[in-house]
Amino acid sequence: MADQQTIKVSIKRQASPDAKASTETFEIPYRPNMNITSLLGEVALNPRTVSGVDSTPITYDSNCLEEICGSCAMLINGKAMMACSALVDKLLGAAEHGQKPDLSKTITLAPLSKFPVVRDLAVDRSVLFENLKKVKAWVPVDGSYDLGPGPRQVPQIQEQRYPLSNCISCTICMEVCPQFNDATGFVGAATIAQTKLFNMDPAGKVLKEERLRALAGDGGIQECGFAQNCVQACPKQLPLTEAISDIGRDVFVQQVKDFFTR
């Protein structure tokens, strides 16, 4: 154990939504090719801080552990990332595979800063769900009788829609957005991208006008400042700025149409 290599991780913790936040530092055994999920697992195995105080395992949202459920977004070294796909070696300075990580560096973990903390690294991201409901980000297929097969989806449309369907609702695009804050109540890139996804659906487009009207409300697409952080930070590489641009045009056209025809 004496020559066991270790790394330090400093974690911002909070026992409950209204409790005071504090920082605890843990020293955990190092293995090559760890990710933040396995690092948090090591902390849970032996939750004792560097100063020898017995603590508790870290609470954080997780499910799939392979960057597909969108649960484990957090601030890793101050930046919004998915814990499952954030590699410890890379965070310790080994940018490329095979490079030696600097084990003296401390990794810091904190909850996403723009969402209310539930506990430790778990935050309440209901606002995204509420926003998706506001723009009716679904295909209306429910009926009291068999509606039959849906309309045909041509491959060209399907190819445009597929990247947008990759959204995992991790809210990283909203966390990194300078416009997503208490003052603006901006809806965020994810909801706008989903609006485009469902507006392009052959069955979902019946709600297109309602979605576009919703996005012209306060906190809507107009609050976008085009800092383009969303598209840079998105772990699933969604074409978010393209969606914002396209939907920005559609919302404007809809507003002009409504002004003259409603």
Partner: protein, 266 residues
């Protein structure tokens, strides 16, 4: 009946943190888009006109005086001035400050080009606002009344720029304003869905960069002309032009301008 009944309202406890979209509520979409548009027309168009007019300074005090006289000879010029310059500018400035104070720049955490552009658009906007307020107050509303004395325009600017601090302010403000306008065109195209594609936005970025650079160089050339090229310009190169709101420019101007023009050109 089933279609009319809305789904149960979301949980009774209000959400903490950032609030959800207020779907279909308010008029911020209109004001925000008007802000975006007003930066292109009329304000951007006026900026281009102003810098092109100022470029006439390169041809000396008389050429510049003629340009000022021409602009002040436009029909309903005071109405044009207020409705296409002052009022849109005031709206763009005040709403711009409102936008800026509600943003939370995080370029220190995410040092990416677009994020830097986001911050710079706000910084250059504030610089431009402070400068333009000073510039309009001193050059338009204080000192010699230039609409009535177009011949004094060159000298008035020259006296102003004789102070090195003010000269520095003018140079910084010129760069900031041109940056703000050029990036503003780019943002306009991106937000209004004119350039949705990544490649289109990249290409249009070069176009906007070129527009901004050309405008900035032209503006700085005018400053060079005032400060370096034509030192000790006469106080008023068109003293004969009578004071008054309306005048018949094309008939009066060429004859009256002849003699001083030779002096100015050397």
């Amino acid at each position: 009946m089933a279609a009319a009944a809305p789904p149960a309202p979301p949980s009774s406890a209000p959400l903490r943190g950032v609030q959800p979209l207020r779907a279909g509520e308010g008029h911020s979409f209109f004001w925000r888009r008007l802000h975006s548009l007003s930066g292109i027309v009329p304000i951007g168009a006026f900026l281009v006109e102003h810098i092109v007019s100022n470029f006439e300074m390169l041809n000396g005090p008389m050429a510049y005086a003629k340009q000022v006289l021409f602009l002040n000879s436009l029909p309903l010029v005071r109405v044009l001035e207020w409705s296409f310059i002052f009022i849109p500018l005031a709206f763009h400035a005040l709403y711009g400050v409102f936008i800026a104070v509600r943003g939370r720049s995080n370029v220190n955490v995410y040092p990416w080009a677009g994020n830097f552009g986001y911050l710079m658009q706000r910084v250059t906007g504030i610089i431009a606002l402070l400068y333009i307020a000073y510039h309009v107050a001193t050059q338009r509303f204080m000192g010699t009344n230039l609409p009535e004395h177009p011949g004094a325009a060159f000298a008035k600017v020259q006296h102003e720029l004789a102070n090195p601090v003010i000269l520095a302010v003018y140079v910084i403000a010129m760069i900031a304003t041109c940056w703000h306008f050029a990036y503003g065109i780019w943002l306009f195209a991106a937000k209004w869905g004119i350039t949705p594609g990544t490649e289109a936005r990249k290409k249009f970025g070069y176009v906007c960069g070129a527009i901004g650079t050309v405008l900035c160089v032209m503006g700085l050339t005018a400053i060079y002309a005032v400060v370096v090229k034509y030192p000790n310009a006469p106080e008023d190169v068109m003293p004969e032009v009578p004071a008054g709101v309306s005048r018949v420019a094309p008939v009066v101007a060429p004859r009256d301008l002849k003699a001083p023009l030779q002096v100015a050109v050397r």
